[in-house]
Structures are given as structure tokens and as C-alpha cells.
């Protein structure tokens, strides 16, 4: 090994690290100990590295970063929303209100089942404590996440709705079936779209044309397309919701 080759390896050596146990570094360190010119060069190199490393470490750290990271643990958890007492209470209240409304209208069969589905999804949309499990994923990463979590990666949104982009998502369950919640980005508003397999939720009496309804605080639209059921719930007027479909 000539001096230039030794320098190439030595320039990568980091003192006080596991590099000292690497046979490649051991060999060139031995060379540097025997060759005064190489030894001087190495000492200069180490001093320069230490000076730059110190400057990198001297960058001020945001004072609240650590506390924010610890706080994140409290807001991103895996526990299912229906297991939380506060949301059980909200769910019960919303379900009761919707059930009372439903009793007055006396819907039957598929319509009643659709009403139950709307109620359950309204509860999930109201859960602002653990609204989504992941957020900030780009489209490919979102599909990977949904595949890994047995969600519905093959969803197709109406073009105007798709323009808003998915902010976050999670998987909820309804009557033992998995439903994907996609939280959409809106300025000054909020909308979630739920996606389920139509075969999992038979008898909902849905077609390609959206059915509009009010569920709790949400205006909703529900439709079926290519084997999927889509349920959009937004906190804005029906006219605005219709423009998205």
C-alpha cells in the first residue's frame, strides 16, 4: 500500500468509534505510526475533522424538540378508537341521536343498514384524538401502508376529490369488516372518505349515483363503484360536497 492509498483510508478514520476494530483501519494506523510524513498528515487531518465536527455539533438545538417528540407518543398510538371511553361516549351519543332519527323515519332493510354504517363512520370521523394512524405519506407510501395493514390500496377517488390529496389514514372496523379512513386536505374544512369492499357490506342498497344524507355534524355522500363502497363525510354544506363528486 502506498502513502496515497493509506491516506484515502485514514481520511475516513473516526477516533473513539468502532473503526479502531476494523482490520483495514488497523493496518493503515500501523503504517501511520511508522511513517513520520504520513503520521503528520494524519494528525493534521484528525485535527481538521475534529474542528468541523465540533462546528456541526455546535448548531443550536430547538429547545422544545425533545418535548414535542415525547408528546408525539401520546397522540400517535395504535389503540383502536372504539376502545377509548371518551369516544365510546361520543359514539353512544351520536348512535343514539341517529337511531332516534332513524326510528322516526322507520327505514327498512338496506336503508336502515346504510344508516347504521353512516352513524358508525360519523363516530370515526369525529375522533380527533386519534383521527389517523399515519400522516404525511406520499401516494406510493400510502398504498404500501394500506397493503401492509390490509386496507384498500386500490381505491379510486372522483378527480375533484383526489385533487385535495390524502393527509393521513387509518383502518377502522364495522361489523367485523375493515374500512379504510382517508383524511383529505381541505382549506378551512375537513372531510374523510371511507372505503370498504362491497362484498363485505352487502345489502346497503347503493349504486353508482351518490346518496346524500346528514349524519351527526356531517354532510355525507355514499356510492358504490367497481366493487368498492365509498362514503364521504365533510363538515361543509351539501352544495359544496356535491361539487366534489
Amino acid at each position: 500500500m502506498n502513502r496515497e492509498e493509506a491516506q484515502f483510508i485514514l481520511q475516513a478514520y473516526r477516533p473513539n468509534s468502532e473503526d479502531a476494530h476494523d482490520p483495514q483501519f488497523k493496518e493503515v494506523l500501523a503504517l501511520a505510526a511508522l511513517d513520520p510524513v504520513l503520521g503528520r498528515w494524519f494528525a493534521d487531518e484528525q485535527a481538521m475533522d475534529a474542528a468541523f465536527a465540533a462546528k456541526l455539533r455546535a448548531q443550536p438545538m430547538p429547545a422544545d424538540l425533545k418535548s414535542q417528540l415525547l408528546l408525539a407518543r401520546a397522540t400517535i398510538r395504535h389503540r383502536a378508537w372504539w376502545r377509548q371511553p371518551v369516544w365510546l361516549a361520543v359514539a353512544a351519543s351520536v348512535a343514539l341521536l341517529l337511531a332516534l332519527g332513524g326510528w322516526q323515519l322507520r327505514p327498512e332493510g338496506g336503508e336502515a343498514r346504510l344508516g347504521e354504517f353512516r352513524s358508525a363512520m360519523a363516530v370515526a370521523a369525529l375522533d380527533m384524538n386519534e383521527h389517523v394512524e399515519v400522516f404525511g405519506l406520499d401516494a406510493p407510501a400510502l398504498k404500501v401502508w394500506l397493503t401492509e395493514h390490509r386496507g384498500h390500496p386500490d381505491f379510486v377517488l372522483p378527480p375533484k376529490l383526489a385533487e385535495h390529496g390524502v393527509m393521513g389514514c387509518k383502518i377502522v372496523e364495522w361489523q367485523g369488516h375493515r374500512v379504510t379512513l382517508l383524511c383529505l386536505k381541505f382549506d378551512g374544512g375537513h372531510a374523510d372518505i371511507f372505503v370498504a369492499n362491497a362484498v363485505d357490506l352487502p345489502g346497503l342498497a347503493l349504486g353508482a349515483a351518490p346518496q346524500f344524507a346528514v349524519a351527526g355534524p356531517f354532510t355525507t355522500a355514499t356510492w358504490q363503484r367497481e366493487g368498492k363502497i365509498y362514503h364521504l363525510a365533510g363538515n361543509f354544506p351539501a352544495d359544496q360536497l356535491k361539487q366534489l363528486l
Binding site: 468509534s17 473503526d19 503528520r40 474542528a51 455539533r57 424538540l65 417528540l69 400522516f135 404525511g136
Partner: protein, 187 residues
């Protein structure tokens, strides 16, 4: 493996500063660096099943941060690359003492002028957080390539810092003695 409360607290306590420094070197922006650090820890909470071995949490965090950064860069183009324009033939000599006297922001700005795929191994070299094998796995290149990039990045950093130090200054950069230094050959 699920990351329990203790693991997560430990991962924050032990690695968040170096992760933030790494993020800052990549993003050139304190807000983006904070977002990137937070996103990495969020993913640790939500995807801890991907971490097979507790000893790998650190390299998993660094790799995740780097991949999230690459994703942002690909989709948002918010981290434009700055070309190195310094003339290295007529620059005075840079010494460790000169670097010691510089403001750390000058060094960080110089780092950020280096092309990202050279800058990343250099920053990881200075932080000493990962082994060369881990850095190579993160960058998906052989260890030899990491060392070549490191060598070029070190030379580039010195060139840029030297050029900045040699400029007539309205900043806090300390002037250098006027000597030449061959960066790649022994003296």
C-alpha cells in the same frame, strides 16, 4: 418488535440531537429539519414492527429520516442543489484553528453547498453515529463508494470554507494566512 414507552423515550433521549443535526444538514432549513426529525420518530411509533432488533433503532431512524427526505425532495423539489463554484487553485491554507474561530453557521452553510450524495456521508462521518456498513446500507452503495464520496466531500467542504474565509468579509469569518495547501497529497 413493538417500541414500548421506555424504548421510545430512550430513542428520543439518545438520538434526537444527532438526527436533527443530520436533518439540518440535508434540508438547509430549521423548520424542515424539525419536521423531518418529527416524521422519523412518528414512523418509529407507527411502524415499529419494521424494526426487528432493538440495537438497530438508531440506524433505522437515520435511514428513515434520509428516505423521508429523499421522498420530499423527489416530490416537492424544495431542496435545490447549489453548485460549488469556488476556485480551489488560488485559495489560502485552512487550519483547524481557523475553523475553530468560525461561526458554526458558516460551516453549516458551506456543508449545505455540497451536493447531497456527497454531503450525506460527510455529515454521518462527523456525527460518528453509524458504522460504515450502516451508512453504506442506508445509501445503498458499497462501503468503498461511501469512502470515495467522503473523500471528495471533505475536499469540497474545505474548498468552500476556505473560499468563504478568503472573501472580503462583512461576516464573522476569520481571515486566513495566505498559503497554499494541497488537500490530497502529503506535505
Amino acid at each position: 418488535m413493538d417500541v414500548d414507552e421506555m424504548d421510545y423515550e430512550q430513542a428520543v433521549a439518545l438520538y434526537h440531537e444527532d438526527l436533527h443535526r443530520f436533518a439540518l444538514s440535508l434540508t438547509r432549513n430549521a423548520d424542515d429539519a424539525r419536521d423531518l426529525t418529527q416524521e422519523s420518530y412518528c414512523r418509529l411509533l407507527t411502524k415499529s414492527g419494521q424494526v426487528r432488533d432493538r440495537a438497530k433503532v438508531k440506524s433505522w431512524l437515520f435511514t428513515t429520516l434520509y428516505r423521508v427526505f429523499l421522498g420530499w425532495k423527489r416530490h416537492e423539489k424544495r431542496f435545490p442543489h447549489l453548485e460549488i463554484t469556488a476556485n480551489e487553485h488560488e485559495l489560502p491554507m485552512l487550519t483547524p484553528e481557523t475553523v475553530d474561530k468560525m461561526d458554526s453557521s458558516v460551516v453549516l452553510e458551506a456543508l449545505q453547498e455540497i451536493e447531497e450524495h456527497h454531503r450525506t456521508p460527510l455529515v454521518l462521518f462527523y456525527l460518528q453515529s453509524l458504522s460504515y456498513r450502516e451508512i453504506a446500507e442506508m445509501l445503498e452503495v458499497p462501503v468503498g463508494t461511501v469512502m470515495s464520496r467522503l473523500s471528495r466531500a471533505k475536499a469540497a467542504l474545505r474548498t468552500i470554507v476556505t473560499a468563504r474565509a478568503a472573501q472580503p468579509s462583512d461576516t464573522n469569518v476569520v481571515p486566513l494566512p495566505s498559503k497554499h495547501r494541497n488537500l490530497s497529497k502529503s506535505s
